[in-house]
């Protein structure tokens, strides 16, 4: 018996046609021939469908394909050729694999930490070398970095600091007023912002803004082989790329943190005059009497450390980039997560140390 198929057998129709043929259950006699002479179009999917029908019918005896033109024969041969060699499947992960993955993950993080400490050591070595030969510090590059991480960050840092100041005053002022102690908002703002919040918020914004930029910039250079080119010319990427960024951020985070402090307290002052009825002159008078200048120093002293950590982690991840553009994205994410984590950890350590020192 002959099965004669016709019309287009392509990606849009072939599978439906194949099902239709399989649906004919009561073939009166076993089919031995598939006739393609009326097929108007046969693409790869069509050829696969024909071969599948052939394989299905072949269970009850050999089946011949006839009526195909040369191009169709070539296509069917191509399909038959690969039939024998399946694509190997990836093995499904077992429970042991998953446990092993957890172990690898943990060890990976440990290794990562070790490499970061190693990089810290490298940075220290380069810095000591540069202290002995200050002429090798790239001043132009440092200044340019100071502009991009400091000056250009002022609008966003200022805006966010202002908003945080307003929200802080609004939320806590409401509570203080229940005790009739609205004026204490000055103590809260003065000490809270100067000691902790102003600097911490600035550091987090800068980690997201500049730390990620460092990773992306250096990472892209790494992919373009610019870093390799530097090495072959005899330039040290640590001196050319890393030091100006760390130095620039360490210098600029001090004024940037101070700027954020001032804006945040101004935001608080404006909000307290509106909602708590604390006038500006009352605010300043109270501020002078309850907030010692020491609070400002406690906050500002932390900024170079935060800056160092952010810039170092950003540069480290930039230099870790390898291979593809995908790697830049991964390392940028890691860089931001790690630098924010380290900034907050460092802040906690500072808090402990200061409290042990009794200040």
């Amino acid at each position: 018996m002959t099965i004669k198929i016709s019309g287009p057998w392509n990606v849009a129709t072939a599978m439906a046609s194949e099902d239709e043929i399989r649906g004919i259950r009561d073939l009166s006699a076993p089919a031995t021939v598939i006739d393609l002479s009326a097929v108007t179009m046969l693409d790869t999917v069509g050829a696969i469908a024909v071969c599948r029908i052939q394989g299905w019918l072949a269970e009850s005896g050999a089946v011949e394909v006839t009526g195909a033109n040369d191009q169709q024969i070539a296509l069917i041969d191509q399909v038959l050729k690969v039939d024998a060699e399946p694509i190997p499947q990836r093995p499904r992960p077992t429970l042991i694999d998953r446990v092993a993955d957890l172990g690898k993950w943990a060890v990976g993080h440990f290794e990562e930490g070790r490499r970061l400490v190693g990089f810290f050591g490298e940075v220290c070595v380069v810095f000591t070398r540069l202290i002995r030969h200050p002429s090798r510090i790239r001043f132009t590059s440092t200044i340019s970095n100071m502009q991009s991480v400091g000056l250009n960050a002022m609008p966003i840092v200022g805006l966010l600091a202002f908003l945080v100041g307003i929200v802080l005053t609004f939320i806590s002022g409401d509570q203080l007023q229940r005790f009739g102690a609205g004026i204490l908002i000055v103590n809260l703002l003065g000490i809270g912002v100067l000691r902790e919040l102003g600097i911490l918020i600035t550091a987090i914004i800068v980690a997201g803004r500049s730390g990620s930029a460092f990773t992306a910039e250096i990472g892209t250079m790494k992919i373009n082989q610019e870093v390799d080119a530097m090495l072959t010319i005899g330039l040290d990427p640590m001196e050319v790329l890393v030091v100006p960024r760390i130095l620039g951020l360490m210098i600029m985070l001090i004024p940037l943190g101070f700027f954020a402090d001032m804006i945040m307290i101004s935001g608080g002052a404006i909000m307290s005059s509106i909602t708590l009825g604390v006038t500006f002159s009352q605010f300043i008078h109270q501020f002078k009497s309850v907030v010692p200048i020491q609070e400002l120093w406690i906050g500002v002293i932390k900024t170079p450390f935060f800056a160092f950590v952010i810039a170092m982690v950003g540069c480290y991840h930039g230099l870790q980039v390898s291979g593809s553009a995908e790697s830049v994205g991964q390392h940028t994410t890691q860089s931001v997560v790690q630098s924010i984590f380290l900034v907050i950890t460092l802040d906690a350590i500072f808090a402990i140390v200061f409290s042990l020192m009794g200040i």
Binding site: M15, T44, V45, Q71, V79, P86, I87, P88, E326
Partner: protein, 261 residues
């Protein structure tokens, strides 16, 4: 070329002008690509070869002029018409442009998956056939793009471009970055696929050897215009860049190689 008048036109470009700011890349450019031919597009760096390809496949807007592909004007047709058109062409990018989060087999299946809901068995069959067409072993199907070599990426990219059995194939520098042996094999692969699948191929290339080996006609982008013809015709064109291109040391070497074969 008397016979070309009767041939079916697949791509027709009329009065195409491309400007980037004040810079004019193409000026009033006309080009016809006929069914079943391999057209090689050459030109110096910055003459807009890849831009031309991107304009034809609708990735780049044109400044003025019109481009018809398979009777549809790509420059002004709506999104639906473009979507239909995309089933009839395949594009292979320079580095393969494989989706890095998918395996090679999944990459090949992407265009089919968009269009159908075939069972996985059939999908795997299709991927295997395409892999074998471009000369990749079945094992390559389970690998991720980052795990295979540059030459294999190009082949996989070609397999993806061929996923829907298109009649029209765009190749952007198919042999760039390959060693001479792989480049020759790639040329032969394209030639073989072109004749067995009756493809029309639009190929941007820098490679003189592949131009001479597989192109029926050559289009040269020079001075914002295009000069089209067979190799022999172009050799006679009186333009310093074209003369330098084909008669320079590399051109002579490639031509000598052709005569030896």
């Amino acid at each position: 070329m008397a016979d070309s008048v009767e041939r079916e036109t697949v791509i027709r470009i009329t009065g195409l002008t491309t400007r980037f700011g004040a810079q004019t890349i193409h000026e009033n450019l006309d080009l016809d690509v006929y069914k079943g031919e391999v057209l090689g597009v050459v030109g110096g760096s910055g003459t807009g070869k890849s831009v031309l390809l991107r304009e034809i496949v609708g990735l780049q807007p044109v400044s003025s002029g019109r481009i018809d592909v398979l009777g549809t004007e790509v420059t002004s047709c709506g999104a639906d018409a473009q979507q239909v058109l995309r089933q009839y062409w395949g594009v292979m990018f320079q580095e393969g442009a494989l989706f890095s989060s998918l395996t090679v087999a999944q990459n090949i299946q992407v265009p089919i998956r968009e269009l159908t809901d075939f069972p996985q068995v059939v999908m795997d069959d299709i991927a295997r056939v395409k892999l074998s067409m471009v000369g990749l072993p079945p094992e390559a199907g389970a690998k991720f793009p980052s795990q295979i070599s540059g030459g294999m990426k190009k082949r996989a990219g070609l397999a993806r471009a061929l996923a829907l059995d298109p009649g029209l194939l765009f190749l952007d520098e198919p042999t760039a970055g390959l060693d001479p042996i792989s480049a020759n094999q790639f040329d032969e692969l394209i030639k073989g696929l072109q004749s067995s699948l009756k493809l029309t191929v639009f190929m941007v290339t820098h490679d003189l050897d592949s131009l001479i080996a597989i192109c029926d006609r050559i289009a040269v982008l020079v001075d914002r215009h295009i000069v089209v013809g067979t190799l022999d015709e172009l050799m006679k064109v009186d333009n310093p860049w074209i003369q330098e291109y084909f008669r320079g040391p590399r051109g002579r070497a490639a031509l000598a190689g052709k005569e030896r074969n």
